[in-house]
Symmetry: C2
Subunit: 404 residues, 2 copies
């Protein structure tokens, strides 16, 4: 397996585009993206667990009942959520896409991100559909990813090449997500393409396995969004023998998908609204995976700890505090904690009590871009990793004035 360029267009048979269609006032910012496969794809998705759901999710769920899709359309700038005409709009959008591409309306996946509850009209979609489709191209992933970005400062775009059943295969992906990020299903938008041949049943299982340990372990602010969606489209053009069991080929593809989703998850956490640091919390020797995950998520979600990391302050008491209120079975008197970065390893807590450390060295360790919080519960055989970011002035600035 090796990293390659090309994003969602890296797999065979996929093209993409992104344009400014007028959902946003700023004309320099793209706000509409389209991904298209020349062949119909096996497709599967996961959605937000928020009870308030964006209208596009409702339409997409309906369209994906048969497990087949051929295009993904996504706008940014307005989430199409809590609008009385939301479902109508999302349906009309997929009709426009289908007509222009000459495919079935039920094979269009619709997604949307931006402010919730703002009035929205069909006009920008109608007026720009021809332009959007006409511009579909093999090097269009970059335009597409810019079309789905909101407060993201970096495009999140990855692709890998690997061999499966003797054939060269690919997985590519783009994602957006910066605020309103919390582990409860997809927690953002991620569109994944592949030329692997796989059954709908196997793809469904694979997505849920991978998402549970990647996207569902990311938290920026504890707010589970209304429009989260991860979807994967596989057009089978790699020519491998179709994956229909959990065999070696399944594992090969899952490894590649896991790698892509882990990169996207790290990318989303690192680009969390206002973030200056990626925080990676690795919990080891827990009594169960569930316990390990609960502890990792609790630490990564603590506002107090996140603010301390922004301040490069090795205030490990806040880590213990967050472990203590995690919904997990933990013996706090067995807990060891290390803070790590490329500079070195800072041992701060042994058996739940403080270990003396050099404050100057601590500041150096915590001045790096990625901090690993290594928590050893010394109480079992299970591990988990969660990703998050620091809490900064800019998070408040961005969210104190998001709509204007």
């Amino acid at each position: 397996m090796r990293d390659i360029t090309g994003g969602v267009c890296a797999p065979e048979g996929f093209v993409a585009n992104g344009i400014h269609a007028g959902m946003r006032k700023n004309k320099a910012k793209k706000d509409l993206a389209l991904i298209y496969s020349k062949e119909p794809c096996i497709a599967a998705a996961t959605y937000t667990q928020n009870k308030v759901k964006g209208a596009p999710l409702i339409v997409t769920k309906k369209h994906l009942k048969d497990g087949i899709a051929q295009a993904i359309i996504c706008n940014s700038g307005n989430a199409n959520t809590c609008n009385s005409n939301g479902v109508e709009l999302a349906t009309e959008t997929s009709e426009l896409v289908a007509k222009e591409l000459g495919i079935k309306e039920e094979d269009v996946i619709v997604a949307s991100t931006g402010v919730i509850g703002q009035p929205m009209v069909i006009d920008p979609f109608k007026e720009h559909m021809h332009e959007l489709v006409a511009g579909l191209k093999k090097d269009g992933s970059d335009d597409a990813v810019h079309g789905i970005m909101t407060t993201d400062t970096q495009p999140k775009e990855y692709a890998v090449e690997f061999v499966i059943d003797g054939q060269i295969a690919h997985i590519g992906a783009i994602a957006k997500g910066s605020g309103m990020i919390h582990p409860n299903m997809a927690t953002m938008l991620a569109f994944v393409t592949s030329d692997v041949d796989i059954s709908k049943e196997m793809l469904d299982i694979m997505i849920h396995e991978v998402v549970n340990d990647t996207f569902n372990m990311v938290s920026v602010d504890g707010d589970t969004s209304t429009n989260d969606m991860l979807c994967v489209m596989c057009n089978g053009l790699a020519g491998n023998k179709k994956i229909v069991f959990k065999d070696h080929d399944y594992q090969v593809m899952e490894d590649a998908l896991f790698y892509i989703c882990e990169q996207l998850s790290r990318g989303i956490a690192k680009d969390g609204e206002g973030a200056t640091k990626l925080l990676t919390c690795k919990v080891s020797h827990a009594k169960s995976v569930w316990n390990a995950k609960a502890v990792a998520k609790s630490v990564i979600t603590s506002s107090l700890f996140k603010a301390a990391m922004f301040g490069k302050d090795a205030n490990w008491g806040r880590i213990l505090c967050a472990i203590g209120y995690a919904p997990a079975d933990v013996d706090v008197n067995k807990v060891d904690v290390h803070l790590q970065s490329t500079v070195g390893d800072l041992y701060v807590c042994h058996n739940g009590m403080g270990v003396e450390f050099d404050e100057e060295f601590a500041t150096k360790v915590l001045s790096e871009d990625e901090i690993i919080i290594a928590i050893d519960l010394n109480d079992g055989d299970y591990s988990a990793t969660a990703w998050g970011c620091d809490l900064t002035y800019d998070y408040v600035k961005i969210n104190g004035d998001y709509r204007t």
Copy 2:
């Protein structure tokens, strides 16, 4: 019932003091407080649910087994948590208090607040115990409340006078709490005194009833502290017939205690670290009290919504989002939302969809010090209120650099 001055010394027979003993470097800041009743008191307490518990809580629980106490000692500046000598220190502190006051060691309540996991020694307690006790006075509540403050900007001190069984009675209280505040038991330190005569059993029940609807409905940052404690001491000097049933007198006292705890809860939320606004979330017509509380707490805890309130931005979509991920049984298509302040009422959401409003008026409504978020679930008969505050630059500033 009427508000009076005097704080914890308002009830008959109580005196208090607060001094600088050297736990903190800043000599202008008091860091040690003592409350004393000339008569032994019926006493009860609630404690944090965090699995990491400050050593003083362990000692206090032991001392309160018999339901009797006569003094409360509390230091700020160092939480005495995650220290290997913590229990020893807390025990030694209560011995010093007992010896100096000539009371039983088991009748001393010990509390502590400040940084977690910092080394701590007995010396400041030893050297200043005589001075602390010698300074006990009837107008000492103000000194005591300053002795327990950490990042609090305002002392929280209340007292009421009321008639019970024909006798004039009082309840007084001081509290601290500004950060690391989240509903899961007491969520801060609160010391309540009263001259009402009541049994230990009735006082226990009353505390839990009152705390569930007051302190447990406050959130500043979602972090449940390790040292939270609310304790109430009643010395019976009001001369009422001892309360031993849930009778009219019980109700009279509970109303007074509820009022005091509600004021303290609002005070803590309003003085949340960095806060510029008190947010009061009132949920009505829920299917159950539990549902109402879950929704109110979810909204008040949302970082995105809190940041929007700081920015005076009527971004009600974030309220819907937080309702949607609350662990509650809610029909989001029935939800109405109003934002209210002394300036007026802003209707933003009807049946889960947006209502058009004037942005200029919205900014005016949201520019006030207290914002009420009125959420009508239109789906039942139950209500709940939660208190919180906005998320500001200063929260990040305070917590990015707390230890130094």
